[in-house]
Symmetry: C2
Subunit: 353 residues, 2 copies
DNA sequence: TCCTTCTGAGAAAACCTTTTCCCAAACCAC
DNA sequence: GTGGTTTGGGAAAAGGTTTTCTCAGAAGGA
């Protein structure tokens, strides 16, 4: 039993409609609608009576009916192929953050890498009259297995390969790499190696080029980036290659810093260095990429890493989609969002510090 | 330009309506509707003509209109507080798998641990007339910050604390623990330790009790479970406690197996054992929990771990929700779904094998 | 008193589909 | 030819809301 000091919203089996509110308030549905939406003209008394009645009955307008009429469903679709994604999940989270306050709900569709599944989801969303679609994925240089090119609703790409002429948000990988390498330089490291993933990833080249650029600008020696897999095991193997003198003839030229293409490689590198008796960060500094918190904080010492700000990226994507839905124009093109360096202990401190 | 050997679905600015199809086919909307839905009676020729017209125009019925009429939106809400969740993500994936083929789309709502946000999302979903709601989370013994008790639509709980009298699916943690400990027994290990998370987690007690039960049944010595945090660091620390003789007086009584409460602890344990010169699995076997693939496969050797089958759990939850929506009755209560042991190399092989 | 101008509120159309009921024509048997 | 049945298809209501148009009555001015 509800206390009767409070208005008790009747928990009816079936939702309260505007018609019921109108009847109880002794007005027409038209007037009721206008009263609740602050439209139309009526005495303050009438408006208040209707409001009160609606409140008492716990009236909430049926979104389906509204959407049908307004041709706007306050719903967007989020397409991804990153099922267990540590990349697309922060993106999603950012999107959701940006939209929930505006009353927009998000359909999450995992399309794996399956064309049929993709079409199924897109059709379902179109049928449900989503206001727009955001496509996201697990890497920046692969297209989702769906064709979003000629939809009649706005589409935004976030952390996935866009269609030409579309609007996309991606991380600035080159900028992120610069952040890491420049940080090493500032700390006085001068023999900086780069251990990263397979050549099939565009980001590998972007980051490696930035690595080379920074070192060249500073007049420091450029070592050839070691390409492998995105795994701890490759981190171990790379340390072997770097420190077993196969690459550098003279013993003195071993690296004093390693910039890694992701946090798992960095983890492998750190473990391998420790096993060789090399101290991190005193002998060798290490910086990772992705700032995958659970990995970065578990390494010993905790890993300095480049964060791609994926949540912010998602937020931007969400807001931009909304403005597009609202009819505002937007320049097509790829917008690169800056990364940031999260400094922990694996990179060392400045000489004076 | 589309080839003209194929029917070219006109990419109109505005969606094609049934009325347009009807007009073009020279019939009424009623007849058109019946033709496309296989209802009503008409000549085969008429039906075919209408179908063809619809096909040619690329007609797809407006889900909003259908939902409004049918009082069924083919939409469900998924509530979670596991933003970066490695638990709720597999669950979601299972749910989505189960529902996509039935044309059901899923609203993903991350409510963090915020009541206001939770209410916001629930209200939005209710307004949008979802057919049902699934609640999931990051742990089994915490309730989401929302009240789903007296909704007028079905609610299912999956991997989160249910309201009393509700339907819930959770993992059988005790069963999973048994799997691990019994596996050790089968391999001939007889001094099995248990290193797990904090006492504030219900699963810690469930698994510890199962651990004790199995050992008691087998007549093996029960060591007091070591409770700590869910971290690698605790794995290291626990090895120190186990092998520095503080617990067992005689040197011979050191464990030959460690059953860990999650994979991160197991990772820490394995690393710590190796650093002590103990071989895994020859000297000490290790089994983890969660089967978090990216961790389990990166440990050296790869980690045997208990998998909670979360995707299957999600699938069950999705299917059950659907049958509830369809009006079929279901027993309230908590259903525990079995775990499975994923054997890799950290636990050793049978003596004869 | 008559005409105009507000004012408050209702009727109805619109959004799009489904479904029930109904009707006219055709067909059949007698 | 008549009464009954089948057949093919349409009209209209329903679902819940918003918005435009309309209208009756009151107020104001002459």
């Amino acid at each position: 039993m509800a206390s009767d000091t409070q208005p008790t919203p009747v928990s009816a089996k079936t939702p309260v409609t505007l018609r019921e509110v109108a009847t109880l308030a002794g007005v027409s549905v038209a007037t009721a609608s206008k009263a609740l939406n602050g439209q139309g003209r009526m005495t303050a008394e009438t408006r208040e009576r209707i409001r009160e009645t609606a409140q008492r009955l716990g009236f909430r307008p049926n979104s389906l009916a509204q959407s049908l009429l307004r041709r706007r469903s306050f719903t967007v679709g989020l397409l991804t192929n990153d099922t267990y994604g540590r990349f697309s999940l922060p993106v999603m989270s950012g999107i959701s953050d940006a939209l929930v306050d505006k009353g927009v709900s998000v359909f999450l569709c995992n399309v794996e890498d399956d064309q049929r599944l993709g079409q199924l989801h897109v059709d379902a969303m179109l049928d449900k009259r989503v206001d727009g679609i955001i496509a996201t994925g697990k890497r920046i240089d692969r297209h989702l297995p769906v064709d979003l090119a000629n939809l009649r609703i706005p589409v935004i790409y976030a952390f996935t390969q866009p269609d030409p002429g579309a609007i996309a948000f991606v991380s600035d990988d080159a900028g992120g790499a610069r952040l890491a390498v420049e940080h090493f330089c500032r700390l006085g490291r001068c023999r900086i190696a780069h251990v990263t993933g397979p050549a099939s990833f565009a980001v590998v080249h972007a980051r490696a080029q930035a690595y080379r650029d920074v070192l060249t600008e500073k007049g420091l020696p450029v070592m050839v980036p070691l390409l492998g897999s995105w795994s701890e095991a490759w981190g171990h193997e790379a340390v072997k290659q770097l420190f077993d003198g196969k690459l550098s003839k003279s013993g003195g030229e071993k690296p004093d810093a390693v910039f890694c293409g992701n946090d798992q490689i960095a983890r492998g590198v750190i473990d391998a260095l420790r096993e060789r008796g090399l101290d991190v960060p005193d002998d060798v500094g290490v910086i990772g990429f992705d700032n995958w918190q659970i990995v970065a904080e578990a390494t010993r010492p905790p890993l300095t890493s480049v964060d791609m700000n994926l949540a912010a990226l998602g937020r931007e994507a969400g807001l931009t989609l909304l403005s597009l839905v609202g009819g505002e124009p937007a320049q097509p093109g790829i917008r690169k969002l800056p990364c940031r360096l999260v400094v922990r202990q694996s990179c060392g401190r400045p000489p004076g510090g």
